[in-house]
């Protein structure tokens, strides 16, 4: 890697007019030009979550997703390799694969019948003689375009549309601990994300959706109706009453971490409706056989992560959410439940809990969607120009896990998010 003392200005884009250490300009949520630039930077140059290995477990399995503007097919080829192929016939640009998911050896373009293997290779061209002697060259040139880099961690598959850049382990950095924390709850260290994805249309900018996921301040207010009507929060949402951290993990990743409070309580399944372990004997037994009683106990005490992995993946405790930005004010949130292979009883409970909390009719997320929409509506007023994110700034502490704040309502995660945003969006498009 080369080092440059000061990055040369690449164009007219001045990111300091949009992000400062303690604030972000309203236009980052409303400007179509900035949205376009985000697609061309964040989603074109960096690592983006695309799929989970359990979704493409067999050879031939495929699913269709978006990376920013680009439709892609995530496919496990006949050779066993997972590729991220651009979903466009290389001939005249017809969208090649129009199903959400399936299993296929090949994809055939409905327009002129070109056929591509699930490895991306161009397999068949009807009436090939029209290319004359150039055919072999055409065929070798016109395989499907593919994301040049695909890598995974703990089953989570990420792709980068840029050939060059930091490796996935470098990108994830300490956020791998969050994935590990989730996998510690599985006796096989594998999870299954095939319970179907809820697709919830949020009428808000994609950043509103993701930064809210690591906002420790809103629950008491946005979700008051849940606590009033149904049950109190698992632990208090009043920051001074709980030992809960917010953390800027670095590289744009951030989280709300209850593990100190949970370890202090030393009670299993606080994060899972406080179900007694005796109700899930098979699961607890499998976890103890896999990891020993002490480690299993700790995993059941601290529970799953509540972590945002830049830019589009949210480990939402026993759920996984990812976002698909559609327009500056429109975002689809995809949510599914984390299933543990072989643990049917646990999984049914997880599914019912996910339905209760998440998605368009969820007791929690429906209201987050509403608040996001009202945020977008509020931004139509262009004053004040800035959204100030300075809560807890003077009490942030740097430790070996990142920048932490013991006030759960601190905007430390949002500051981390926008520091990364400025570095990426302010870079070369």
């Amino acid at each position: 890697m080369t080092t440059v003392e000061t990055p040369a200005p690449v164009d007219e884009f001045d990111v300091s007019a949009m992000v400062r250490p303690d604030r972000v300009h309203g236009s980052v949520y409303t400007s179509p030009e900035i949205f376009r630039r985000e697609m061309d930077t964040i989603f074109k140059t960096g690592w983006v979550y695309v799929a989970h290995e359990s979704e493409v477990i067999e050879r031939g399995d495929y699913l269709t997703r978006m990376i920013g503007h680009d439709p892609v097919v995530v496919a496990r080829g006949r050779d066993g390799m997972v590729r991220v192929l651009l979903n466009r016939c290389t001939h005249r640009a017809n969208k090649l694969c129009n199903a959400e998911k399936g299993n296929a050896n090949a994809f055939r373009c409905p327009y002129h019948g070109w056929t591509f293997a699930n490895t991306g290779a161009l397999q068949g061209v009807p009436m090939r003689q029209a290319y004359g002697e150039a055919f072999e060259q055409v065929r070798s040139e016109l395989g499907l375009a593919a994301a040049p880099r695909v890598d995974s961690y703990g089953g989570f598959v990420f792709a980068s549309l840029a050939a060059e850049g930091v490796s996935l382990p470098e990108h994830l950095g300490k956020a791998t601990h969050a994935i590990d924390r989730l996998l510690n709850l599985s006796p096989t260290r594998r999870i299954d994300l095939r319970a179907n994805w809820m697709k919830h249309m949020h009428h808000a900018n994609w950043k509103m959706v993701v930064e809210n996921n690591v906002d420790g301040y809103h629950a008491l207010f946005t979700h008051a109706s849940v606590y009033d009507a149904i049950r109190p929060a698992k632990v208090s949402h009043v920051p001074t009453k709980v030992d809960v951290l917010v953390r800027d993990i670095g590289n744009g990743h951030s989280e709300i971490d209850y593990s100190n409070e949970y370890r202090k309580l030393d009670e299993e399944f606080v994060w899972y409706g406080r179900i007694p372990r005796a109700q899930l004997p098979e699961y607890v037994g499998a976890l103890e056989r896999a990891y020993g009683p002490e480690q299993a106990h700790d995993a059941l005490v601290v529970g799953p992560p509540h972590t945002l992995i830049w830019p589009n993946l949210f480990l939402a405790e026993m759920n996984v959410m990812f976002v698909e930005p559609q327009a500056v004010d429109r975002t689809i949130a995809y949510t599914t439940a984390v299933l543990i292979p072989g643990q049917d009883k646990l999984n049914e409970r997880t599914l019912r809990r996910a339905e209760g909390a998440m998605g368009p009719a969820g007791f929690l997320i429906a209201d987050d969607g509403e608040i996001g929409m009202r945020n977008q509506a509020g931004l139509a007023a262009e004053l004040p120009e800035w959204l100030v994110l300075s809560r807890g700034m003077s009490t942030d502490v740097i430790d070996d896990t990142g920048i932490i704040n013991t006030d759960k309502s601190a905007e430390t995660p949002q500051r981390g998010f926008y520091s990364r945003w400025a570095a990426v969006v302010g870079g070369k498009a």
């Binding site: 179907n196 109706s225 009507a229 439940a337 368009p360 009719a361 429906a366 509403e370």
Partner: protein, 178 residues
């Protein structure tokens, strides 16, 4: 190509097939009960709506018609207890996604009886729901009601499954009673 000459036997078979494919329309009191359910939901009369439900209630909005709830997620999959919670949350007046509540009117139509047991009748209907909140939206699909008739003649709702025509696509916030 020449027309097939249909014999009397063919005609009789055809008539029998059509009759067999036809389904009875629900009895008047069942239909009244379904209209009541629609009206209470439309008017946000949450507690009255809740009172229609039997104890073994199932209220579902699946993502795909053939989904198995044991292994897949639905948008809504409420048992009686969760129906009570859903109504309690709406009744706080602080469920932001329904504050103010949607103004709604739904049309229930094409109702057909698809199953009958000793004490229940299952009715499938088409529905179109017009909702205004910030802007107007419409929701449409097939709704399957299962109604129990008790010994005293009272009616209770045992099941309501709503198959949205757009369940496979992104769904807007759905915090009202669909």
């Amino acid at each position: 190509m020449s027309m097939t000459v249909e014999t009397g036997i063919d005609e009789a078979r055809r008539s029998a097939a059509i009759s067999a494919a036809m389904r009875p329309v629900p009895e008047a009191d069942i239909l009244s009960f379904l209209y009541l359910e629609s009206r209470l939901a439309d008017e946000g009369r949450y507690t009255e709506w809740e009172s229609l439900w039997a104890e073994d209630a199932v209220y579902r909005v699946p993502m795909h018609p053939d989904d198995d709830p044991r292994t897949t997620l639905a948008y809504i999959n409420d048992n009686r207890r969760r129906i009570k919670s859903r109504v309690a949350q709406l009744n706080t007046g602080n469920r932001h996604s329904q504050t103010p509540p949607s103004v709604m009117r739904r049309v229930l139509s094409n109702s057909e009886v698809v199953a009958i047991t000793d004490d229940t009748v299952t009715v499938e209907s088409n529905f179109a729901l017009f909702e205004y909140r910030v802007r107007q939206r419409f929701w449409a699909g097939r709704v399957i009601h299962t109604v129990r008739r008790s010994n005293d003649g009272g009616l209770r709702l045992v099941g309501k499954v709503v198959h949205l025509i757009d369940a496979g696509g992104p769904v807007d916030t759905l915090a009202f009673l669909i």
